[in-house]
Amino acid sequence: MRIPISWLKEYVDLPQDLKTFTDKMSMIGHMLDKIEVTDTDTVIDLELRGNRADCYAILGLAREWYACNGGRFDVPNITADTQAALKSKQYSSIKVEIHSSDVYRFYSTVIRGVKVRPSPAWLQSRLKDYGINPINNIVDITNYVMVETGMPMHAFDLVKIDGNRLIIRNSQKGERFFTFEGTEKELTGTETVFASENSVLGLVGIIGSKDSGISNNTQDILLECAAYDRVAIRKTKIRLNLHTEAALRHSHDLSASLCDYALARATDMIIQLACDGDYSCIEGYHDYYPNPEKPKQILYNPSEVKRLGGIDVDVDIQADILKRLEFKVEKKENSNNLLITVPLFRTDIFESADIVEEILRIYGYENIPSRILEDTIPEPIILKDLEIEDKVRDLLVSMGLNEVITVPMVTLDELEKTFDPLASRAIPLINPPTSYHTHMRTNMYTTLLQVAKRVIDRGDKNVSIFEVGKIYFKQDQNNPIPNFPHKLEFPYVEKRKISLLFASKKNEWDFYRVKGIIEETLDQLGISNVEYNRYENPQYALAAEITQNGLKIGCVGIINNAINRNFDIIPTVYVSILDVEALVKAEKTMKSYLPYSQYPSIELDMSVLVPFEVEAASLKKEIIKSGNNLIRSVEIVDYIEKSGKKSILFRIHYQSKERTLSLDEVNELHILIENILKSRFGVIIQGRDDIQDKIIPITNKKELINRSSKTLSNVHHELIESTNRFIVIGRILEVTKHPNADKLVICKVDVGKAKPENTLYPDYLQIITGAENIRPIESHGKIVPVALPGAIVKSHHTSEKIKIKISKIRGEVSEGMLCSADELELDYPGYDGILILDDALRDRVGEVFERKSI
């Protein structure tokens, strides 16, 4: 509401410093929007308060200021002549006929002999400062009084009301009229119009027609001030896009009681400014007011201010505030209660809480103390779905994923492009906010794919994103699913989901990496015993359904590349969905810290070659089953596809809770398991079944083939096979004398990529050996088998199995062992010392040493 300050000063005193005024008005509910300085005045714009139609008026705001500030509040007087004329004599020259229930009051007067001319300068400048263009004195006065009192009014040229009947009726469908501003509007039959016998004169409460207005030739006028059904006005205003000053006010709760003062005030001004003060120009009045408003009364307990506001306000101060706001306050006998009569113009006051607000805001919200909830602390409510979502966020972010939030509306076309079976149950919006947001999403892939596309297009090589959000779809009426807190009959469902999406231009992702992220997530949530089973769905080129005891937790897979094409994304897209409800429901094992078994574990590897159809999970199950409770765990440490089959490296940790297992016992069990796998699944145990044709000996090749094949019968040989990843091919770079031992040398040995982390030197190992065939200079460049820390070899001295560790030998670190044939249990009689391998193997430094390496 724009307030030209000089206009407001006519009614109340204002402080010198306008900020004091605007601050106070802001505090009591009329927030400062902006301040503007015009040529003639300062204009303060205060936000309109939705339930205070009486304050869309300068007088209304003046009353608010007066209530805070006290002092002067001058409401312009109405002359006795006008008062008399508007109450005593009805006009007869025009017949007013009202055929609409939207009219609450229609109060009018006929004034004859007006002189239409420009308004005086002061009036023009006030209207301009408010923001209304001056037209002529009659129209300007109607606008002036509207801004002053909040009541819109309209003046008709009597001549234009042909037939002398002013009819208020519903419009007819297809009826047309030109607004006062000159635009043509077609009516729909739902509006309420002013009409004469032959034409539409205006839309009630909104705008007059072009022809019925006041012209320079007008002599006699009908001036009206009315109250209508605000809903009807609001609908018409929106439908016809006519946001006039009148419509703004009439679409709020304006009291019909305000018509009396407003019509009288306008009449007074017209007599003064257009009739040279001649009150006899007033022909009379007409008042249609079938149900006059009655004042509301509220029984009010003054302690409510304390109960709701948290502050004590003296009853007399309370009463005083209310009186300044024009409430009537009576003390009830024999009780503390006050009987409060609400002024008619206060259409926003209904009950005690409203009275409390009136008192508090004028007394000053700034006087309310700060207190922190002294009430008992309620029991905490824990929503498990929110809690688990937050955990998953933490896990995914810690694994490098980026969280996004997307808009949950898409188009049906986009949903169909993701081949979503739910798309046919997508929920359309009746009034979509844009043409790109017409349906609620039935999956999160659609928007995540759009994000991925954008990220890739802007040049990023890698996308790894997730969203925690909802999907929405229509209930299957035959098989509805619960959708708390809605009832089962509620036709729509929204479900919480977590969706992940990965794509990379550099092939950073593969199915197993993505599955690994899901596995780690579920594991960290304590959800174990999860099964992954192949799952056929048009959305995926490959997918596994994730279940726990039949509960569907989600899926992980590779997006069908037809969807890639639909979204114009080139790299392979890996995705996963987790159902939050299922994550909540899933059985969880609490993580507990168990002490390690006091008996040592033995770790043996088993490398198997199987047809593609055989699933790793079934092999693993079989291994555990066959392990006779002597297996602590089975890991899959490596996996490759090779010659139409898959090669899987299992690492089996054998451990008993009751005793130390002997190597022989474990070896026997290991072979037993291998045999079971062979017979049940037709696997080939690598490094055993396939070994014979792969031996390439060093010197006398033929002879060595025979000798090596003999070693296969040796049971102990299995051990080397199974731990062979710790025995690799190395190249001696340099040999130097040990400073503290005559018979020892220090070797620098290159083991390429097999080098463990955190070694003494960044690029090679330091290994101490006492073997006589390793000597400075002459051994440089030799290729040798190297046992890395962790390898188990046969001790040269005791023939026992020993595990190679990083150790200090005579004060120097040794990070492994150069191996002799004997230590590797290779049968090369007569060959002492470290096994020197064929120079041709220099290209394979760092690879696992196998028999076939020889």
Binding site: K306, G309, E357, D375, P378, M440, P491
Partner: protein, 327 residues
């Protein structure tokens, strides 16, 4: 043999009392000419059963002497050379992903309110007119409804919630009193999509209902929140404002950080920045869920969430929050 070891130890400890320096100690006890070295090099000639025991003892002594000398010399005498490492080169990082800013701000707010006894709550986005409007003192054709033009699914009853206040009604219906909840959540309105407006935006709603809850509690709670969220020097004010679902209603402002209340373009010359709206839950809303407004009272507030996120992370366009351009 063990006697010898014991003797070396005693001599060493005696020498430690004198001011003999580390280099000298090293020469005397750890060099090739030392007695200790002689024992060490002789171990292999001992019978196996004795070898183990003596080896253990002698190595223990050697470690002890070495560590004492290291301490005395002030540096590790067997220090390995790491000269090839350039400490100014960047490390190899394990990169974490990123949270959406909404998550971070919601968590920050949740933690503050949890410390004040509030629980985090949620409710449906697809709602009925009854829960979004009717029960919140917004009867059909209430003018305030026009400020919140809704997105409609099934005219006129089923809509997308236009504010998270619907969750207050759900909570009051389904939970026990006293009740304190906060609701970070999405709401939808028929709005133009531009730099500052979004048709799918976030609100942060709060509600406390009990027997002795007043505007003073709302003011105090908001003040604590503001000081914890923006810093202890933050100043707040509450002023009268109209919201249909509360009575009395208020606006909750924070003193403008740019002009400290003097008035500047950032705060539209108001000196204060509007952060939230709130007030005492309207008696009609309490009645709508069967709570007697003469016995119980409650406050509610709603924070403009996206705006707070944007202000905290200096994001200039609300659309960027929801189109995946941020992370």
């Amino acid at each position: 043999m063990l006697d010898k070891i014991e003797k070396i130890k005693k001599n060493f400890e005696y020498d430690l009392q004198s001011d003999i320096n580390a280099t000298e100690l090293k020469r005397k006890y750890l060099s090739k000419n030392s007695e200790l070295y002689a024992i060490l090099s002789n171990i292999k000639n001992l019978p196996p059963e004795e070898r183990k025991h003596v080896g253990l003892q002698v190595n223990e002594l050697k470690d002890y002497i070495t560590s004492v000398i290291e301490q005395r010399s002030g540096h590790n005498i067997t220090k390995t050379s790491y000269s090839h490492i350039d400490v100014t080169l960047p490390g190899k990082r394990h990169k974490l992903g990123t949270y959406h800013p909404n998550t971070l701000i919601a968590r920050e707010m949740n933690n503050i309110f949890k410390s004040l006894g509030f629980s985090v709550y949620a409710g449906p986005e697809i709602e009925t007119d009854e829960y979004v409007f009717e029960k919140l003192n917004l009867p059909k054709h209430h003018p305030a409804r026009s400020l919140q033009d809704t997105l409609i699914i099934e005219d006129p009853e089923i809509i997308l919630r236009s504010h998270t206040s619907s969750v207050e009604i759900r909570a009051m219906e389904n939970e026990k009193l006293p009740l304190r909840i906060v609701v970070p959540g999405r709401a939808f309105r028929y709005e133009d999509l531009n730099q500052t407006n979004h048709f799918a935006f976030y609100q942060y709603e709060g509600l406390a209902v009990g027997k002795n809850i007043t505007m003073a509690d709302l003011k105090g709670t908001f003040e604590i929140f503001a000081k914890m969220f923006w810093g202890p020097e933050t100043q707040i004010r509450i002023r009268a404002k109209y919201y249909p679902q509360v009575e009395p209603g208020c606006g909750l402002d924070v003193l403008c950080g740019f002009c400290h209340g003097k008035g500047c373009p950032v705060c539209k010359r108001r000196g204060w920045i509007e952060i939230a709206g709130g007030g005492m839950v309207h008696p009609n809303a309490l009645r709508s869920v069967g709570i007697d407004p003469n016995i119980y009272s409650g406050f509610a507030f709603g924070i403009g969430f996206d705006r707070t996120v944007m202000q905290k992370y200096k994001i200039d366009d609300i659309r960027k929050l929801y189109d995946g351009t941020l992370y």
